[in-house]
């Protein structure tokens, strides 16, 4: 035991403290100190609802050759088009851990964000331990506005893929890179099928690395070329199926597009607040004090900073999604600036850097802590209604969804597990303005229609249900022909909620629909007669 204590690496102490700070200001705050909730907690955007629906769908159907039918407007032959390694990982994790699907995503993505942060620490540490200690505190900024948007709004796969990037980069610092060609191929393939762009980032970093190496050595090693060739071939084999699907179902974007314009929710460099000056200082200093040796951490930081601005305006980069991880990638520049100050005052000793890193971790956690707990867009009443639909209706049932405050984040409705027709707000507003009671509403079938509900027509030929059956999938529909109708009884828009209730009551009075489920906020009516004239057209104020 004494020997074991002697062997304790003080770096582990810093990692443990970092992890505690990370968990406390991050996922524990977001999830209100509890992992298992009875409903999807802190779902704040459509993508988060969508990822939940994908996960639940995969747990049901077991694989991703075809989309679960309710995620494809009821069709059973839609090609699985989404990069799905992340969803597979979460599905396996859900089965193994016993956690319900709706409790998985934020925790899972946070853990991988933690792993990515520590991997970046290890990369910097392999080069310079003191800079690594001083870099770690900035990584806590992943939970500051707006860097945390990715985690809060459902872009979870980015964080898993970032860990693959960082391991790939770590290999560049290790000798005998050539022996790791198979593992690198697996990482590249996994990146591609997790979040396509990350494979491009790894490739770009390796490309720049070998170019720089070739310039410094004034030659390109034959072993390097063989290594790249083997990695390329194996990666191509591993991604072949998904690459073909991607090519056939997605319309090819132009390689270059207009400049990305930041929206209010996107991370900006200014979101580093006062710490941005340290990052800038580190960026400016590093080429001068480390100019003799090409350093991998500086390479990653520089490239990710460059990609985060995307001056080439290329579609190969998701500009603002890279920025979610800027606190991780750019931390090295923060560390360098503090290290430089310590060097000037001749205090650049390992124990001092360690202590400052430790103090900064605690200080940043304390100063920047924010309670982030939030019920989110799906509360208990809505979730209970969604679960009721899944468990108590025929799997081929269709359901029309009336106005609800959060339903414009439409992927939330994919969790009904049924083909749902979402009535658009404009349809309600028009009817209210026209003082009209009617059975006709305009809307569309809610499902991930990114690729038009693509299906295999024949070998390597794809058709799209959306093109072929557009009239069935969208437009003006008669609500009398739906199996179920879902109404929100309460809304921040009282007029719309009242209109919902007027329609619902008319349907019940006509005895064509009956209440099959209701709670304080949601009512679900079931069709009893399939009478095309289930409601008498008329005026609201009659």
């Amino acid at each position: 035991m004494k020997n074991l204590i002697k062997k304790i690496n003080i770096d582990w102490i810093l990692i443990i403290v970092f992890t505690i700070c990370f968990i406390l200001i991050g996922p524990a705050s977001i999830l209100n100190k509890k992992i298992s909730h009875s409903y999807p907690y802190n779902i704040l955007a459509s993508d988060a609802g969508g990822e939940l629906a994908f996960l639940r769908g995969l747990k049901e159907v077991g694989g991703y050759r075809y989309l679960a039918p309710h995620l494809c407007a009821g069709f059973e032959d839609c090609i699985g088009f989404h990069p799905y390694v992340y969803t597979h990982l979460t599905a396996i994790f859900s089965f193994t851990s016993g956690l319900d699907a709706h409790n998985i995503h934020i925790l899972f993505a946070s853990v991988f964000l933690l792993i990515s942060s520590i991997l970046m620490f290890l990369i910097i540490r392999k080069w310079n331990k003191q800079i690594a200690y001083l870099s770690l505190p900035l990584m806590l900024f992943v939970f500051r506005p707006q860097f945390r948007i990715g985690l809060m709004w459902g872009w979870y796969d980015v964080f898993v893929a970032s860990s693959f990037i960082l391991i790939s980069i770590y290999f560049l610092m290790d000798k005998n890179l050539e022996k790791k060609w198979m593992v690198l191929s697996i990482l590249l393939a996994a990146s591609f099928i997790t979040h396509v762009y990350e494979m491009f980032y790894i490739t770009a970093i390796y490309f720049v690395y070998f170019i720089i190496k070739g310039i410094i050595n004034r030659k390109i090693e034959k072993s390097n070329l063989i290594f790249l060739f083997k990695v390329g071939i194996l990666t191509a084999i591993l991604i072949s199926y998904y690459a073909i699907v991607l090519k056939l179902v997605w319309s090819s974007p132009k390689l270059f597009r207009g400049a990305d314009i930041a929206q209010w929710y996107d991370p900006l460099f200014s979101h580093f607040m006062i710490l941005k000056y340290f990052i800038i200082a580190g960026l400016v200093i590093s080429p001068f004090i480390f100019k003799k040796k090409a350093k991998i951490p500086l390479l990653i930081g520089g490239i990710m900073l460059f990609f985060g601005f995307n001056p080439m305006h290329t579609s190969a980069i998701r500009t603002f999604q890279i920025r979610y991880l800027w606190p991780v990638y750019l931390a090295v520049f923060f560390g360098i600036s503090i290290y430089f100050i310590l060097r000037i005052i001749r205090l650049n000793k390992r124990i001092i850097s360690f202590s400052i890193g430790f103090i900064l971790l605690i200080t940043i956690s304390f100063v920047y802590y924010e309670p982030l707990a939030n019920i989110g867009l799906i509360n208990q009443n809505h979730w209970d209604a969604f679960v009721w639909v899944k468990e108590n209706t025929d799997k081929n049932a269709n359901i029309a969804v009336f106005y609800g405050d959060s339903y414009n984040q439409e992927a939330i409705l994919w969790n009904l597990f049924r083909t749902e027709f979402r009535i658009v707000e404009s349809s309600f507003i028009k009817n209210i303005e026209d003082n009209k009671i009617t059975k006709f509403f305009e809307g569309y079938t809610g499902s991930p229609g990114d690729v038009g509900f693509a299906y295999w027509k024949s070998f390597l030929k794809v058709g799209k249900h959306l093109d072929e059956e557009v009239e069935r999938l969208e437009g003006i529909k008669n609500i009398c022909l739906f199996d179920y109708l879902l109404f929100d009884k309460i809304s921040r828009q009282p007029v719309l909620a009242q209109y919902n209730l007027i329609i619902a009551n008319k349907l019940i009075e006509s005895k064509n629909f009956g209440i099959t489920y209701q709670n304080e906020e949601v009512a679900i009516l079931g069709n009893m007669n399939y009478n095309e004239n289930c409601i008498e057209e008329g005026k609201i104020n009659e």
Binding site: R65, L166, K179, Y241
Partner: protein, 126 residues
């Protein structure tokens, strides 16, 4: 692979798994500090799932190309590699019809098994 090398690898695995157990206990403590409203058993099972699915397979994969890695690096590199391999295999297994509900039990066993075979057959590593 000769007996000495097998003994060395076994000793390394034994040492790493002791550290793994310690790290698991520390992880439960950290998570209990953060998620104090979550039951101990639930946290233990959640963290065990991360270890079973990603850390253990990943660590075995790292043995196939390095026996000199420090545990601190092996743990986190292994975590990511384990996730990449398990995720990729699961994706393709799902495509051919093998239901994902069985992957959590079988895939880590398969990955560890394959890694052990590679370790035993390998002549040299760093």
């Amino acid at each position: 692979m000769n007996k000495t090398k097998i003994t060395n690898v076994l000793n390394l695995i034994k040492k790493d798994f002791l550290y793994l157990l310690i790290s698991y206990l520390i992880a439960i403590t950290i998570f209990k500090i953060g998620f104090y409203k979550e039951s101990f058993f639930s946290l233990a099972r959640i963290l065990f799932s991360f270890y079973w699915l990603f850390v253990i397979p990943g660590i075995f994969i790292t043995y196939t190309f390095s026996t000199r890695m420090k545990f601190i690096e092996r743990f986190f590199i292994g975590f990511g590699i384990g996730a990449a391999i398990i995720g990729l295999i699961s994706y393709y297994a799902g495509l051919i019809g093998f239901h994902v509900k069985y992957h959590g039990f079988l895939l880590p066993l398969i990955v560890v098994g394959v890694a052990i075979i590679i370790i035993l057959k390998k002549k040299d590593r760093d």
